[in-house]
């Protein structure tokens, strides 16, 4: 056990901290709205140039080209969190498509898509879930029928973030309806301005449209968009789903929220008494602090296993379930502590923290469900972590 950094890494941390501090004025502000605002793109370009994002992606595809170093990646993430400087772009194109293409894309696909995606010039959305294919994603029905050099696609996707802004979609479609459900799926890329695509915003309980529904009617796309091979889309998608689950439940983000909650409870009063001085609220706060410590320590343990290239095991399988639940509880305590003011939302003079605790309380429930529901996570923990038997499949009637 050694939680100190070697001189090389201490120096790296200082270097990153200095870079961010000296160049913070280049970063976009809240007024620079829009995914492709010139200031955002310039900031992204600067960050890539300094190796603060796209760090391990080869230079020939527009990345920084460094050797993978988990510890350096972590230091960079921590310094962004500490400095409060806007983070690099992190859409689904960057976090999920790029790793997939690097692993399985053709040379042409890598050449064409990775660089503009990393630089924020090409926005992607993910076409996976369907109304009838949520937890059971492999039962998806959006159909792609071969026609010469093209596929003709019909069907519907849901839970598609950034579909309205996206230039491109990476999409799972059924190309072989006769095959078993995992074997008839193809992973394909195509432009969102292809005729026949309709995007409808999906308003959720937070009151905003964080997701969309996407409808395909006779959408004709070239076969050259297939990643890896036709009917092998399930394998392609699985590589990236692992990535998505890793992103949810980041202990550093949870810690930051906890610190915010402590500040809130020290600052706010009710009946002339500070919220933190209420023993029941303080008790709940301390219970959450223990969990925050636990998830941070768990995160350090996972990182060490990865550094040593050892299997992460149960410690990794529980992160999404525990992390999302903890975030939800932190928001829940903030709302309880704020009492009748905790329900204010939108705007108004009594609103606290811009209504963000309510927003998080609702959005975090979405995250408990999304990216593999809590119940699916428990199946995974039991089956892969505890080696318990899978649910027997019911006999399928012809």
């Amino acid at each position: 056990m050694d939680l100190t950094l070697s001189p090389e890494y201490t120096a790296f941390r200082d270097h990153v901290a200095k870079l961010l501090e000296e160049n913070a004025h280049l970063a976009p502000g809240p007024e620079d709205k829009g995914l492709k605002h010139p200031k955002r793109l310039a900031w992204q370009k600067f960050l890539i140039g300094e190796g603060l994002t796209a760090r391990t992606i080869p230079k020939e595809y527009g990345g920084y080209g460094a050797e993978p170093d988990i510890l350096k990646s972590r230091i960079i993430a921590e310094e962004f969190a500490r400095s409060g400087v806007p983070r690099p772009l992190a859409g689904q194109g960057i976090s999920m498509l790029v790793p997939t293409l690097l692993e399985l894309g053709t040379p042409e696909q890598k050449e064409k898509y990775i660089r503009p995606t990393l630089h924020g010039e090409m926005i992607w959305c993910q076409g996976y879930s369907e109304p009838g294919a949520g937890s059971d994603l492999a039962s998806l029905q959006t159909k792609a029928v071969e026609d010469g050099d093209d596929y003709v696609i019909n069907g519907q996707k849901i839970w598609t973030s950034t579909a309205r802004q996206a230039d491109m979609i990476f999409c799972l479609v059924r190309t072989d309806p006769a095959a078993k459900k995992h074997h008839g799926i193809t992973y394909i890329l195509f432009p969102m301005d292809t005729p026949g695509i309709e995007v409808r915003p999906l308003v959720d309980m937070t009151g905003s449209a964080n997701f969309n529904e996407v409808f395909f009617t006779d959408v004709r796309v070239p076969k050259s968009g297939v990643v890896f091979e036709p009917n092998k889309g399930w394998q392609v998608a699985n590589a990236t789903l692992t990535h998505e689950r890793g992103m949810l439940g980041d202990p550093n983000a949870t810690k930051a929220r906890f610190v915010e909650l402590v500040e809130l409870m020290k600052r706010e009063t009710v009946n002339g008494e500070r919220l933190i001085d209420n023993p029941l609220l303080c008790d709940r706060l301390m219970a959450l602090q223990a969990e925050v410590y636990a998830m941070q320590a768990n995160g350090l343990r996972i990182m060490t296993s990865r550094l040593k290239r050892e299997s992460v095991g149960l410690a990794g399988l529980v992160v999404k379930l525990q992390g999302c639940e903890l975030n939800h509880q932190i928001a829940g305590l903030a709302i309880d502590a704020l009492g009748e003011l905790g329900v204010l939302y939108g705007d108004g003079e009594h609103l606290r923290s811009e209504g963000s605790w309510q927003w998080r309380y609702m959005y975090d429930l979405g995250l408990i469900i999304g990216g593999g529901t809590a119940q699916i996570q428990k199946n995974i923990i039991a089956e892969r972590g505890l080696d318990m038997p899978r649910e027997p499949k019911p006999a399928v009637r012809a």
């Binding site: 050694d2 023993p279 219970a287 550094l307």
Partner: protein, 348 residues
Amino acid sequence: MEFGLSEDQTLLQETVRRFVAEQAPLDLIRKIAEGDAEAKQTIATGMDELGLNGVVIPEELGGAGLGMLDAVLVQECLGYGIVPSGFLANVVASSTLSSVDTGLAQAIAAGEARFGIALNDLVSRRDGAGLSAENGGLSGTSMMALSAEDATHLLVCDGEGNLHVCAPEDHQVLSTIDRTRVFVELKLSKAKSQMSVTDDRGALARACLLLAADSLGASQAMLDKAVEYAKERKQFGRVIGSFQAVKHLCAEMAAKIEPSRALIWHAAHALDMDEDEAQVMAFLAKAHMSEVATFVARTSTEVYGGMGFTDLVGLHYWFKRIGVNRQLLGSPAQLRQMAAVAQGLAAA
């Protein structure tokens, strides 16, 4: 940067795990619960042979020169096998005394001194408990002293929070749900304080963390047993472990246990490094582990169904180990309050 166990620590863990599995089977624990002194001595002798009592004592004093993280790993193994032992009390006493009384530390390492500890009054005083130190004599009672029944020395606390070493005098055994371990009420009357140490709750933090590690081990044992049983037991023509209702209970236990393990390791390391947050982490680690362990104790028993409720499989010994650990040296609510005070979030 490395958050994990060294090769030596893994080896230590394996050694103690093997000792527990081979030398302390449930049959032996049952005998101890029935008051078999010989059975209890078997374990004490075995632990002496492994040199476990000197784990945190410096090598030049005859110990192993290791730290709290190592002690925590040993305690987790003891909790896994619900092994009654004086390990916790000896570790707490020797880590407190090593720097002030090398002779006593040497005696602990050599197995000549066996400590009992009575620190409960630092957290909780009921029924008039508490020791006062006047004119060098310690008088009063102290509830739920650990390993004091056959100790050669006692580490006790007075009303000011100072620690003292004294010889055992009178005590009364307290009958608890856990028959495998002996807890006593100390009764001292002008007992001579052989030495006094101002400690600022370091000993308490160590004791709390070791209890947390003990409950971690007991929880892991209960989960392992529940999972094993769920893979064998059949109902409705299927093993019950294939039902999601059962599987999810096991997943919930694992999901709570695994981060708790990292928390306890981290808290132990913080104590070893004497970090500012160390006490807060130790108190919160015990509070949190107690909550998790209580959940596991109840849930694993449910997975076992009716058999879990019987004496036949003996699962209740782990249930009771966890239940007692939870209340020793601070219930979760008391410890959370102490953690809030220690970081200036609540008034003392």
